[in-house]
Symmetry: C2
Subunit: 180 residues, 2 copies
């Protein structure tokens, strides 16, 4: 998915500015499926406007910088539908954490323990946020995707918690007592 389609999708749920689109990929339901930066969003919005897929209404705000709010056009809805109908590309995943774990035998066990603990804390924080934080963007897929995210993060967290000690023991080499 290119940034243009990502923006088009968000705008299809309601008029939004570049700034708000970025937030949707940081805070709202989209944060664990894609991410973008201003450097790609703003040029994408310009291109979408030129192609007639969105229209921009400038909004002067008192006590705030001007805001450019983009709304989707009929042509835009068509383009979005077309993009969503294409066979999806494979998921792209890259994890420094997992790569480091793969080579954990090269690091001092204390460092490995610290990394795992940080990761456990990260999952706990994220799950808390996902559970509590309102599913604000309103699309039916939102809950489905959100639920899948929670399921996956939970199992990752469980795995780390339950395998942490055994892994660390194994790395320390010696056959100390293994908790059963």
């Amino acid at each position: 998915m290119d940034t243009k389609t990502l923006c088009l999708g968000v705008i299809s749920l309601g008029a939004a500015s570049g700034y708000e689109i970025k937030k949707a990929f940081e805070e709202d339901g989209l944060n664990h499926i894609y991410h973008t930066s201003y450097g790609s969003i703003y040029p994408a919005l310009t291109a979408l406007t030129e192609e007639g897929l969105v229209i921009c209404s400038e909004m002067a705000q008192a006590k705030r910088p001007d805001k450019k709010v983009y709304s989707i056009t009929e042509a835009g809805r068509g383009a979005l539908l077309e993009a969503l109908s294409a066979p999806p590309a494979e998921d792209k995943f890259r994890s420094d954490f997992l790569f480091i774990m793969f080579f954990a035998h090269l690091l001092p066990p204390s460092s490995v323990a610290k990394l795992i603990d940080q990761r456990i804390a990260w999952y706990e924080q994220n799950l808390a946020k996902m559970g509590a934080g309102g599913d604000c963007i309103c699309s039916k897929g939102d809950a489905f995707v959100h639920g899948m995210g929670v399921a996956v993060y939970s199992s990752a967290l469980e795995y780390l918690k339950s395998h942490r000690q055994a892994f660390l023991d194994q790395l320390s080499g010696a056959s100390r007592l293994v908790a059963e």
Copy 2:
């Protein structure tokens, strides 16, 4: 992690050619944590050689193209350790599938069903491969990372299986006009 570090890591487990490194990121234990292409691997190997982090021994092969086998140097091990010791960057995940599901209300439910079924099949195939196929690269982290991959994929698969029908019902319930 840049491609140089990825290559260095693989080579640290045993001498390898560019071709073999690529395979490690496709088939072996690394396939679900990072990926690379020849276009980034070969230049990285050249750079690593110039920096003295690996050494290259050319191997003429009968009935096969020549092979360049790279081995890690002491300096290379140092550089790898340093790279692994840096605080890991956040995981980068991007999923066309999840993005499309987020906007599932725009598509005919039959298309959504097909996508979910394909995804279920994909997880099943991958899990079968991961369960059966030997974890051939031998590092202690291998089993740990592999196990986490299996846990996460399994929960994703379970989620899709158990929520598929309810999601589809929900979609066709409210958007009958879209579905012909």
